[in-house]
């Protein structure tokens, strides 16, 4: 392998990784606050991708502008899921919420199949490459990367600086103590799920620049996001970023050397290896 190919694969992987990081940070946020694994996370990404696709196809809307629709729509959906369904099982064994959200995932996938068929959809708004010092970088990946970093950064600032962000972090540390301090923990949970769903939707909206997306991609995205937070460290926001870059790079190299299907299998094996050898991830706190 030539060195320029190597660098190009590395950059391609890092760019894709940033989009995964956005989705995985959402999954991590829900886990951190509620100890719930959102099994429907990948399906929320899929919905975000379809919002971008339909706005682009029907109205010719620039898929970056369609984020303005994706984010509030998915926020509302996530808020509703938490308010009407997940709230009923918070505090029960984690498997109950997992199975519940898996039911939600089945409903979303099959509603999408029914409404939009199983065709793969893509948004070819940003084609071509950017020449950069002898390297050719895919324009769609570059744009998705910048947008993903900007959104992830905005969420991070929100969590660090705003009142609600602090309330979310306090609830993640100890929901009883947060309750005692006068934080409306129920609303924090609704906002957390809404925010995480909006992050998943935004990531889906960006990923459809890069890949074609069909209604059944959700579980694959969910597995990848889960692998990312396990590799990076559960409950750690920066961990999601590190894990996503690792997964993005693993994927882009193994897709080049073997093929893209096998690269998925390699991500799953990496997930299992990490769960066994380093269950706290690279940056995770002890659970």
């Amino acid at each position: 392998m030539e060195i320029s190919t190597l660098v190009q694969l590395l950059i391609g992987g890092l760019l894709l990784g940033a989009v995964y990081a956005l989705a995985a940070a959402g999954l991590n946020l829900i886990f951190g606050v509620m100890r719930v694994v959102n099994f429907a996370h990948g399906d929320l990404m899929m919905l975000g991708a379809y919002v971008a696709f339909w706005l682009y196809t029907l109205a010719g809307l620039n898929p970056l502008v369609s984020l303005l629709a994706t984010v509030p729509l998915l926020f509302l959906l996530g808020w509703g899921l938490q308010r009407w369904l997940v709230d009923r099982v918070v505090g029960q064994p984690p498997l109950m919420s997992l199975i519940l959200l898996w039911g939600v995932s089945l409903v979303i996938i099959n509603a999408a199949l029914f409404l939009w068929t199983s065709n793969s959809r893509s948004v070819p708004a940003f084609s071509g490459g950017i020449e950069l010092g002898g390297l050719s970088i895919s324009r769609s990946r570059g744009i998705a990367f910048v947008a993903a970093i900007a959104i992830t950064g905005a969420v991070w600032l929100f969590l660090q600086r705003s009142r609600w962000g602090k309330a979310i972090r306090a609830t993640a540390q100890s929901s009883e103590m947060a309750l005692v301090c006068g934080i409306d923990v129920a609303r924090v949970r609704h906002i957390t799920f809404g925010l995480a769903a909006a992050m998943a939707g935004a990531a889906g909206n960006l990923i459809v620049f890069i890949f074609a997306v069909s209604p059944v991609v959700g579980p694959t995205f969910m597995l990848k996001s889960f692998a990312i937070i396990v590799i990076g460290g559960l409950g750690s926001f920066q961990g999601a970023l590190v894990g996503a870059l690792v997964v993005g790079v693993i994927e882009s190299f193994s897709a080049y050397v073997l093929n893209s299907q096998v690269s998925e299998a390699i991500v799953y094996f990496a997930l299992i290896l990490f769960l066994l050898a380093r269950p706290n991830g690279l940056l995770g706190a002890r659970l």
Partner: protein
């Protein structure tokens, strides 16, 4: 302990149960000879689902380690049995048993590795495993012929398939019964209720979990082989399809996970409903199953068996 105080009613119920059981067995034995073949095929399918749901129940219902990827063992058994029949011309019965044994053998190291992970980690690792195996089956072209699948010489022997599936089902149900009525089964339930406490009571939790996992891997491998022989064609998307894992879970939970009859009730009711209403609309099937999952988790977490118990139609301590 409880058995002593309720000895008489249990014996009467036992006698009635035995009579009903014999009657059902006799009725099942004549099914393939009196019913038209498409009805018999429906029975074959129902038996397969009951077997799968009961196998899942042994690890997930009894020990509480919920597997989201039990289709992995079904596909493993289907592929290895099919390859044995094609490459080595092994007799189909032996090939199916070999498929089950292979799934069980694979489950030993897998159990030691994955059963260290609790709750959602185990569930999702199993899902990843089954997805990874599907990828292996479709990529390892020299062995599996990839996506084009494996064709076996068509047998078209519905009666033999019927009895093979029926026998698999009866054996797994009998094994479930033996487990749930034994001290071994009590220890599995102790692990489900509180693994730390079970361990401090001196239960070797690893040995119990792994052995339950191995038993629960054998039967999907076995019926995977029967399925391959019966349909005479398999491909990665049919035998590793995630909906199989979903069906096992939903059938078991609907009837009542952790009981012997729960998966039977779930298998019969849901296969019948699926066939009657939406066999032609697969999306609707899965969407309705999704809604059902949500309803079960929110409103009837113990399934039908638990409803019967709480309504007093079954004794409160009923575990079968």
């Amino acid at each position: 302990m409880i058995a002593v105080s309720s000895l008489r009613p249990t014996t009467t119920r036992g006698a009635i149960g035995l009579a009903v059981g014999v009657a059902i067995l006799a009725a099942l034995a004549v099914v393939p000879f009196v019913l038209p073949s498409y009805r018999t095929a429906l029975f074959v399918l129902t038996f397969m689902y009951i077997t799968l749901a009961s196998s899942w129940n042994i690890i997930s219902g009894y020990t509480g380690y919920v597997s989201f990827g039990h289709a992995a063992f079904f596909g493993l058994g289907a592929y290895s049995a099919a390859l044995l029949m094609i490459r080595l011309s092994v007799h189909w019965i032996l090939a199916c048993i070999a498929g089950g044994l292979l799934a069980a053998v694979v489950a030993v190291p897998l159990g030691f590795i994955l059963l260290r992970l609790r709750g959602p980690y185990f569930a999702i690792s199993m899902l990843g495993l089954s997805a990874a195996l599907q990828i292996v089956a479709s990529s390892w072209t020299p062995m599996t012929r990839g996506g084009s699948g494996l064709s076996l010489p068509p047998t078209l022997n519905l009666v033999e398939s019927y009895f093979a599936m029926a026998l698999s089902m009866l054996v797994v149900l009998f094994v479930s019964y033996l487990i749930i009525t034994s001290r071994y089964g009590l220890r599995l339930i102790a692990i489900r209720e509180d693994e730390g406490a079970a361990e401090s009571m001196g239960i070797n939790t690893t040995a119990h979990k792994v052995s339950a996992f191995v038993i629960s891997a054998f039967f999907p491998g076995l019926v995977g082989g029967v399925y391959a022989w019966y349909l005479a064609y398999i491909d990665p998307t049919s035998v590793f399809r995630p909906i199989l894992s979903i069906d096992m879970i939903i059938m078991s939970m609907f009837g009542g996970a952790g009981t012997v009859f729960g998966p039977v009730i779930g298998g019969v009711v849901l296969t019948a409903i699926a066939e009657a209403f939406w066999a032609r609309l697969p999306e609707l099937h899965q969407a309705v199953f999704g809604v059902l999952v949500i309803i079960i988790v929110l409103f009837m977490p113990g399934g039908v068996m638990n409803l019967l118990r709480t309504r007093g139609l079954l004794p409160r301590n009923w575990r079968i």
